[in-house]
């Protein structure tokens, strides 16, 4: 048996392989297994319908957020069109499923691939554009996709959208939140694993090189346009998968949810979670989804109070206000996000009691 490693009291790495390891100690690996066991065994036993609904939402959004973090956090290409790509995935899955009769297990990856292609088309401007010009181009992409979703009613059903039947996977009807929970979280674990490992490959290193200094990256022989497109593709693939899951989970899709606000929400998630951190994307999703749930609950409670009964319409915008305020406070006080807070907490435990 291997010797168990404890956290060292500083940075004593001697080789590049050590730097690249995901788990610094075997305890990390063990804790991950414990966490997965709790997630897949304990949570489904005790969670209520409502908790499962929130967990599923977190799962779906996390997948999309990881994709966006690969694009913004690792490759440094700011995209304001991720919400639209999420929508493209949802519509692609719905159309593949209802029109072409694809089964559930094929429709979801097909939606991912289709969205990846669309994402690469909207990534083409990155050939010539950088920074804020690219941001504006993707913003235009968002509006154009939204327009297509509403206007191309032969395929997308226009404003009425597309209703979906209950999906079946391996002969099991996915008709409850619990069954969806297993599908969503299996995919999330798988995709997280892929993303974490992708960053350690030549592709991931090329992405980071492009983010840090594109001119130097080009000089080192990295074909940056190819890698930028690839990054757009991978990121949209994640968005498309998540969108497909969303479509099947919601049972009906309309163009409204996939507006610019959703794109902004995704960016808020990865900023609050931490740019350039896969864990951060998940932490950020947990934070944002819980925040908006708490805000809607508070709004509901307030509206039911007698004192506010007359002003029922005007309380909902408070959600928007708090949301904006959270983003602003995070950017000013902890620009590296929850991932950084998590790191600080961990290292203060590790270095205790001599933390200086």
């Amino acid at each position: 048996m291997r010797k168990l490693h404890f956290h060292p009291c500083g940075n004593f790495k001697e080789s590049y392989e050590e730097e690249l390891t995901i788990f610094e100690t075997d305890f990390g690996r063990a804790w991950l297994l414990v966490g997965l066991a709790i997630l897949f065994v304990v949570v489904p036993l005790f969670a209520s319908q409502y908790t499962l609904y929130i967990l599923n939402t977190i799962g779906i959004y996390s997948i999309a957020a990881i994709g966006l973090n690969l694009l913004i956090g690792y490759t440094g290409q700011i995209s304001m069109g991720h919400g639209a790509f999420f929508g493209v995935g949802a519509y692609a899955a719905a159309v593949f499923y209802t029109r072409f009769g694809m089964p559930f297990w094929a429709a979801i990856p097909a939606a991912g691939v289709f969205t990846a292609l669309v994402g690469m088309i909207f990534g083409i401007p990155s050939l010539r554009l950088k920074h804020l010009y690219l941001t504006i181009a993707t913003l235009a992409g968002q509006f154009i996709i939204e327009y297509v979703l509403v206007q191309w009613d032969g395929v997308t059903g226009g404003a009425e959208g597309i209703p979906l039947f209950k999906a079946t996977l391996f002969g099991i009807k996915l008709n409850s939140d619990l069954k969806f929970f297993f599908v969503i979280f299996t995919l999330l674990v798988l995709l997280t694993w892929i993303a974490v490992n992708l960053i350690r490959t030549r592709f991931g290193r090329a992405f980071v090189a492009i983010r840090d200094n594109d001119r130097a990256a080009e000089g080192m022989g990295i074909p940056i346009f190819k890698y930028k497109l690839l990054s757009f593709g991978i990121s949209s693939f994640y968005a498309g998968l998540a969108g497909g899951l969303f479509a099947f989970y919601m049972m009906i899709i309309t163009p409204e949810p996939f507006n610019m606000w959703l794109s902004i929400e995704f960016i808020a998630i990865i900023i609050i979670g931490g740019l350039g951190s896969i864990t951060g994307s998940i932490l950020g999703t947990i934070f944002i989804v819980s925040l908006s749930e708490i805000l809607s609950l508070t709004t509901e409670v307030l509206m039911n109070l007698d004192a506010f009964a007359g002003s029922s319409i005007s309380i909902a915008p408070l959600r928007e206000f708090v949301f904006g305020l959270t983003i602003v406070l995070f950017i000013i006080f902890e620009p590296k996000g929850l991932a950084e807070i998590w790191r600080i907490v961990r290292s203060s435990f590790r270095l205790w009691p001599f933390s200086y």
Partner: protein, 292 residues
């Protein structure tokens, strides 16, 4: 022919409004290279402040106009001081998201106070301003807009050319480091540019409010229309913003008139993508040559 002239007049007027809205945006970008997603909310803030002062508090129109401009000036100052100052030197995405967060915040606040309904100003423009050329009639609002716009453009032109603060602002826009080493207080210039931008935004907000009624959603969506306008004209060119505004305005009304009304909303963004691909720095933008 009459239809064509009608569209032409509408397009130019609409374009002039876009241009006016884009002015403040360009001003912020020119001095501090910040892409301001909260511009629409600045417009809305001005429009609502004017509503409160003129209608709810019942102050005379001229006085409330001046007070609105002053209030927005202060708001711009405070925004820069509280939110943007800590971010000097941070990554682009942080700054962009900060303005997005500010936009959400302001929008929520305005919706909370005023609701999502359309409010109206009392009628105060004299009818004599309405211009008539046999078949074409230009409403008094547009004429007033045109006059106000021209006066302010002239004032800004003079301000930038002759006043010391204006010269400081131009120097910072040209080269921050050089300006700083020559003793220009760069941070004060940033604050001033935000204040002036908010002031211009308030003015365009009021004008838009007179024409379409004041509605939070409507005004904040104008803030996004500004992007095609400024990209077309060049992000850092005031003249470009005006020309870009008029071109986009014409494009919108002609598409709406001759092709389809639903395409009207999206055409500026289609043009935007084409321009970005062909001529990323716009018609009059400063070209930064960089081959990557």
């Amino acid at each position: 022919m009459e239809f064509f002239l009608h569209l032409l007049v509408n397009g130019v007027s609409l374009g002039f409004l876009y241009a006016l809205s884009a002015l403040g945006f360009v001003m912020i970008f020119k001095s501090s290279s910040i892409l301001n997603f909260a511009h629409g909310e600045l417009l809305a803030f001005g429009a609502f402040l004017f509503l409160v002062l003129s209608t709810w508090a019942g102050l005379p129109i001229i006085l409330s106009f001046v007070l609105t401009l002053l209030g927005s000036f202060l708001l711009g100052f405070v925004i820069e001081r509280l939110f943007l100052r800590p971010l000097i030197g941070e990554d682009l995405i942080q700054v962009i998201m900060l303005t997005v967060g500010l936009a959400t915040m302001f929008k929520g606040l305005l919706l909370f106070i005023f609701g999502g309904d359309i409010h109206q100003y009392p009628k105060f423009l004299p009818d004599e301003l309405t211009l008539k050329f046999d078949v074409i009639e230009i409403p008094s609002v547009y004429v007033a807009t045109f006059i106000i716009g021209l006066v302010f453009l002239l004032l800004f032109g003079l301000f930038f050319k002759y006043s010391s603060q204006g010269i400081y602002m131009r120097s910072v826009a040209d080269n921050q480091l050089a300006a700083m080493s020559l003793g220009v207080h760069v941070r004060r210039v940033f604050a001033l540019s935000w204040a002036i931008a908010a002031l211009v935004a308030a003015m365009s907000g009021i004008v838009l409010g007179i024409i379409n009624g004041i509605n939070v959603h409507e005004l904040s969506s104008i803030g996004l229309k500004v992007f095609p306008v400024v990209i077309l004209g060049g992000l850092d060119s005031i003249g470009g913003a005006i020309l870009g505004g008029i071109i986009i305005g014409l494009l919108e009304t002609f598409t709406g008139g001759y092709i389809s009304t639903s395409l009207r909303e999206i055409i500026p963004y289609l043009v935007l993508i084409v321009i970005l691909m062909v001529k990323p720095y716009g018609l009059f933008g400063l070209k930064e040559i960089e081959r990557v």
